[in-house]
Symmetry: C2
Subunit: 406 residues, 2 copies
């Protein structure tokens, strides 16, 4: 007997037929004697329809009202899934965020879970009732519904698993697990049996879409064993675990790419103290995350070019901020490009192996791919390249690090 | 300055365009200096779609889960309307049933409002904020969402008006008020300027669809002045008021018809004590309301035919109950018919005028319409006739009681 949290996304519950499939998966666990809490998203398409309506209602709208509207999607699926389970003879009830409650911060639209007071829910689990929990939503300090931002249902599931001291959190998706690279691009990509929290965190934040970054953070902080698996097959998935649970580490576990970046170059900035602060200060104040930064001296030594990346969605706002400081820093011009992609090589094995970065640079150089910026962490190397080379770069690196399936 | 509750049904909020129209109506009241709470239903079609899904999920389903699913409809509209109002520069916020809270009984699917604790909401109104309230939903003693049954938003509006001691509750519909008869049948029907609570209650329960019966009960009990008016025109509507606010009463205020009945005849029941109890006891226990009852002696005096009506939706259940007692009461046969209609003549003036019933019987007799059953109250006479004669009967009675417009 185990206590399990299962999470199903929008495509897994997009109609009653699919909801029955989810109920069957839950029934298997119940039959095995497990205590089961199941977290579900809105039916695929519903959230987008609701968001479209909010945009039609008002271009700039109150995030509290937005949360009221979009949280209705999960409310519908939990009721329907509870009904289907009951119809199969399984004791079940739905739980909305405010009913548990899932206490969150007051930042509507992208709230953070602060505490899940799951005592009552746990009692019901122990009495053999399946808890059907609405993902993505919580209750703010203002007694109003909050939402956690896109992909927030993953975070609900992992945080609930932590609150319930569950043995495992199973995240069901439309792929069979975490791959060494996006299988749509790399046909020889392999499914990983295990991956560490740290690697999963880097992969999620560097473009792998299989888990929401925040959910991996929560899993890592609370050491929740997470499994990523397919809701449409019976193949075992990928376990996200502690580093010491993996006996032999590959140097590199995966290659990711992200098109979510845009590149900004400020030309001929005066080369004097305080310029970087003048450029990045206003961006930080406007909550724009600057990622890769490259500074290159000009031939005459009196000015410099400054290149950096920002999230693509923040590009317009960033340019507006920079236009305002342009004169102050004496810049000649500001150039923005969004046909760039960030390719990352990730692996905890990197820590104990030299030459990993060099192999990346060499592999790309051999294919004639120019590196526009670099950023690294202990277990990751990222490069910014021209978006046209995305597939070529990812495939070449996948081969170069010995990740190709036989 | 007045405190007003405005209520808009599903067709008035069926898309963002229509929601803007509602917002404009609210804005007019705000501009006039009124404190405004606006109660809205789900977008037309949404509730039916949600109900269809619950049926697809399970033929027999938990009413608590049903309430969770269908209440999502109003949740969406309140958020959208609040956004549109804010976008027009009007301070507004949405309120869900559990947030106010609207405390109801625990009968999920058809809960009754027990108390609206509107203190916080009232404070906000007094600060000039428009309250956008989800109709149809409340919070049960089990801390779960309840719904009030079809048309429940009218009741939410009236009960909220009572709780807020509002000056008026305006119910916006797709007709211009309460008519002397259904204008789709009687082209010479007239809109009433005023109608008493008692008359409105009879009209609602005898088939006029303009207001939900329960909402009129609440209005009458709390003496809430209710106005029924069109959301698509500026014509004044019908005021539902106390009897003493109407100076001169017409003998008859309106003619209604209802196709929601079915007729059951039990043939040749033994004519002895206890038979009626044996017939109606099981029906009462199964919550089936028996309305009109006619008993006719058989020629030989030893047995009798018993005819009565039940709500059409309960007919199958009623027949099942009766089949079970058939032998016990020695009945020869049970005949059910649903091609019947109940036509009612309603008016408080009836109390002080003789001959009202007789005029009804005579008018129908002149048209060759056979009366199958009769029931009366102090201010109403209802007859059951063949459904094929519906229009003929309603038109003839409308003329006979002098209700035709010039």
């Amino acid at each position: 007997m185990a206590r399990i949290v299962m999470k199903f996304g929008g495509t897994s519950v997009q109609d009653i037929e699919r909801i029955r499939n989810v109920a069957n998966r839950v029934a298997e666990r119940v039959a095995a004697g497990d205590e089961v809490a199941v977290v579900v998203s809105a039916m695929a398409g519903t959230t987008n329809e609701l968001i479209d309506w909010t945009r039609e209602a008002a271009q700039f709208h109150d995030a509290r009202e937005y949360d009221t509207v979009v949280s209705a999607g999960e409310q519908i699926t939990v009721g329907l899934l509870a009904m289907v389970l009951q119809d199969m003879g399984i004791s079940a009830r739905s739980w909305l965020g405010w009913q548990i409650p899932v206490a969150t911060s007051g930042v509507h639209g992208s709230a953070r879970i602060e505490e899940i007071r799951a005592d009552t829910l746990l009692q019901r689990l122990q009495q053999g009732q399946v808890a059907v929990v609405a993902g993505f939503q919580g209750l703010g300090p203002d007694n109003r519904i909050t939402t956690l931002g896109r992909g927030g249902s993953d975070t609900t599931a992992v945080a609930l698993a932590a609150a319930l001291s569950a043995h495992r959190c199973d995240i069901y998706t439309d792929v069979e697990g975490v791959y060494t690279a996006d299988p749509r691009i790399v046909t020889r990509a392999r499914k990983l049996d295990k991956i560490t929290y740290e690697e999963m965190l880097e992969m999620a934040s560097q473009g792998a879409k299989v888990l929401q970054t925040r959910s991996v953070e929560v899993a890592m902080n609370h050491r929740v064993p997470v499994q990523v698996l397919s809701s449409f097959s019976d193949a075992p998935g990928t376990m996200v675990v502690d580093e010491d649970e993996i006996v032999e580490h590959a140097v590199v576990s995966g290659i990711t790419y992200s098109s979510a970046e845009a590149k900004i170059t400020i030309q001929r900035v005066a080369d004097r103290p305080g310029v970087a602060a003048a450029v990045f200060g206003p961006l930080a104040e406007d909550n724009i995350n600057v990622d890769m930064i490259v500074q290159s001296a000009s031939p005459d030594g009196t000015s410099t070019d400054m290149t950096f990346t920002v999230p693509r969605g923040d590009l317009d706002r960033a340019l507006k901020q920079l236009e305002a400081v342009r004169k102050e820093i004496g810049a000649e011009g500001i150039i923005a490009r969004d046909e760039v992609v960030k390719v990352s090589v990730i692996g905890v094995g990197m820590r104990s192996h030299a030459g990993v970065a060099n192999r990346m640079f060499q592999t790309l150089a051999e294919r004639g791919i120019n590196i526009q910026a670099i950023s690294t962490s202990e277990i990751k190397i990222s490069v910014l390249i021209d978006a046209a080379y995305t597939e070529l770069a990812v495939r070449a690196l996948h081969t170069a690090y010995g990740l190709d399936a036989n």
